[in-house]
């Protein structure tokens, strides 16, 4: 009835963490990765990726807003989740979630976006009427000081925030890895490599997501794709992906070589229950194929059109591959018994509280939020002469 092979402890028959928990590391990973890409331009002065700077920040915000929702929906008592803020249990990794999340959302992301957009917000506030005026006035916090000194200060603060933001982004996602990596009862999760593997896979998925969104928005707006920009992004994607793949293989080889008690259960699982999602989707389609394609761009002289197709293909394969990686960690980690003597099956429902339908909605929701954000705060430098001037002027000024 429960799809069990061998022996499971009776309380283990049903999986406790569903597809909604798979979404949690997936969405936060996209946030962290997108932010790291944005910081490439801001902190490391990689000028070529500038067209994606603001887009990356808005993408990070859109995904971050949705990230806690699947967790909230999964709780048996969502109305009590505020207790994690008011009476957190200090030894619990999970209790820190709210603080890490709020820090990242309010201190890093929202503040950085606000400082970066402040001049345009004020200008729109001044030039508009009615509801729009009210909205932008509120967004400007009714402060219309956009003197050169004020803007220079904004830029300086934004730079400091990005510097704080990088370790914060690492913390946000490394922390998610720690939630799993610190569970000693579960050998599939329990490894100090988990936060680092999560982090690099996050960087890979975030960069791929912003690259795809940039290319898609260019196409939708009928604008030319800046090839120098996407080539540079693809190069960093390739580097990050090599580190990510190396770490994951290190973990796998370590497990195979050490071959401790848990290996029998895990080995069997990878060969059967996780074969498609781990070997086929995550490793072959989601990693080896895009890695080979990205390597080919570095080695061969493809035309711009071919490169676009390659990047779009890689981006989509990576998005699916990293989702499969999260799936294999979260769901895979619950398919075997902690007795190592048996396996159960995960049954994914469709239109239930923890089914496929809400999961799909949570995947679409960030894109809808991003669409609204793009309307409110257009990141396109080709449309807004203000933006280019401000950013260029203040970059030279600081």
């Amino acid at each position: 009835m429960h799809g069990v092979q061998g022996f499971m402890y009776p309380n283990e028959l049903e999986l406790q963490w569903s597809i909604l928990i798979v979404l949690y590391p997936y969405l936060t990973g996209l946030v962290a990765g997108a932010f790291i890409l944005a910081s490439l331009e801001r902190v490391f002065n990689v000028a070529a990726v500038k067209p994606t700077y603001r887009l990356a920040l808005l993408t990070a915000l859109a995904f971050l807003i949705v990230a806690p929702l699947p967790l909230q929906m999964h709780l048996g008592h969502p109305e009590r989740s505020w207790e994690m803020y008011v009476t957190p249990h200090t030894t619990s990794a999970m209790a820190m979630f709210g603080f890490v999340y709020l820090w990242y959302l309010m201190v890093v992301l929202v503040l950085e976006i606000w400082l970066d957009y402040r001049k345009e917000i004020v200008l729109t506030w001044r030039s508009s009427t009615g509801l729009k005026k009210l909205l932008y006035g509120a967004m400007a916090l009714w402060s219309d000081n956009i003197s050169p000194e004020a803007l220079a200060l904004d830029h300086k603060l934004g730079g400091i925030l990005t510097v704080i933001g990088i370790p914060s982004a690492f913390m946000l996602h490394g922390y998610v890895g720690f939630i799993f990596g610190s569970i000693k009862a579960n050998p599939w999760w329990s490894t100090p490599l988990m936060p680092i593997v999560f982090l690099f896979s996050a960087i890979v998925s975030g960069i791929a997501a912003v690259m795809l969104i940039y290319m898609a928005t260019c196409k939708m707006r009928g604008k030319k794709i800046d090839m120098l920009c996407v080539d540079t992004i693809a190069k960093y994607l390739y580097y990050a992906f090599i580190v990510d793949f190396t770490l994951e293989m290190l973990d796998l080889i370590h497990r195979l070589y050490v071959a401790d008690e848990s290996l029998m259960a895990l080995d069997f699982m990878v060969k059967t229950k996780l074969f498609v999602s781990q070997i086929v989707i995550q490793i072959i389609l989601g990693t080896l194929v895009p890695l080979a394609l990205l390597a080919s761009v570095q080695l061969l002289r493809w035309s711009a059109e071919t490169r676009k197709v390659i990047y779009a293909t890689c981006g989509m394969l990576i998005m699916v591959g990293i989702f499969a990686m999260r799936w294999n960690v979260v769901i895979g980690g619950q398919l075997f018994s902690k007795s190592f003597l048996g396996y159960t099956t995960y049954k994914l429902d469709f239109a239930t509280k923890e089914g496929l339908l809400p999961a799909l909605l949570f995947l679409i929701m960030p894109l809808a939020i991003l669409w609204v954000l793009l309307k409110l705060l257009p990141p396109w430098e080709d449309d807004h002469s203000h933006a280019g001037e401000i950013r260029h002027g203040s970059t030279t000024g600081v």
Binding site: F7, Y9, P10, L71, L75, T87, T91, S92, A93, K338
Partner: protein, 258 residues
């Protein structure tokens, strides 16, 4: 005057009834039990106790009395995936000691079917399982709001009015002792019959075990037989490598048991 006399008489009868029907310790605690705070009873000081359990595998006959008693006493859901205690049957073939055949149909609630197919060569024994009430509980460590906690007398309990139902503790328990109660959407587990042991009674599973394979023990009580038992038996805990400070002590624990 007559009203006072009748009150006195009623009190006298009530008190006498309590003394006759209940043990001395339970009588003293009765008012606190009625108020739902047995641990505050004057004759029960949590700091005087450190509870655990001895489970003697050689005595367990796999009858399932403990499972049935536990479900009845504690209102555990009558499904096959929710147990505060359960019994496993191990069949270990001599040539494959690392690959035991284990089963626990409906947690052993209905007992076990006859075993004939393995012949005489197999080693067969029953292993009752229960929350280990660990002194360093991983479940307590991970609970984000402290809804799961260790009582001063060494029992791991859950405050159902605080539990978020996040299930992190279920993942963290190495022994599979926790489940989600679908009625409350919160986690549930063995309380070591806290409502009974704080009244001087033993747990429902120990009470109903026909062979005394399970015994509630108080490690702080110098007169408790546990001390003699630990000296004279080869005792082990489940998964000692987890270093959880488990307090369910097994006598005759085979190396195949997980």
């Amino acid at each position: 005057m007559s009203a006072e006399a009748s009150t006195d008489r009623r009190e006298f009868l009530k008190d006498s009834g309590k003394w006759i029907l209940l043990t001395g310790a339970a009588t003293l605690a009765w008012d606190f039990v009625v108020e739902g705070a047995p641990e505050q009873a004057p004759n029960y000081r949590a700091s005087d106790h450190w509870w655990g359990m001895i489970i003697d595998i050689e005595k367990c006959i796999g009858c399932g009395n403990c499972v049935r008693a536990c479900k009845a006493e504690n209102g555990v859901p009558m499904t096959d995936d929710a147990f505060r205690t359960w019994v496993e049957r191990y069949v270990v073939m001599p040539d494959e000691p690392e690959k035991p055949i284990v089963e626990s149909p409906n947690g052993g609630y209905d007992g076990f079917a006859d075993l004939k197919q393995y012949g005489d060569g197999a080693k067969v024994f029953f292993v009752p399982k229960i929350c280990n009430h660990c002194a360093h509980s991983p479940c307590v460590q991970v609970c984000p709001v402290g809804a799961t906690f260790e009582s001063p007398d060494g029992v791991v309990l859950v405050d159902q009015t605080r539990c978020l139902g996040c299930r992190y503790c279920v993942q963290a328990c190495p022994y599979g002792c926790r489940y989600i109660d679908p009625r409350t959407e919160t986690v549930d587990k063995c309380t070591l019959c806290y409502h009974r042991i704080t009244k001087g009674l033993t747990t429902a599973c120990c009470e109903t075990c026909p062979t005394a394979a399970r015994q509630l023990v108080d490690l702080k009580d110098p007169k408790d037989p546990i001390h003699e038992f630990m000296r004279t038996h080869k005792v082990n805990v489940l998964k000692p490598q987890m270093a959880t400070g488990a307090k369910a002590y097994y006598n005759g624990l085979d190396g195949a048991v997980r």
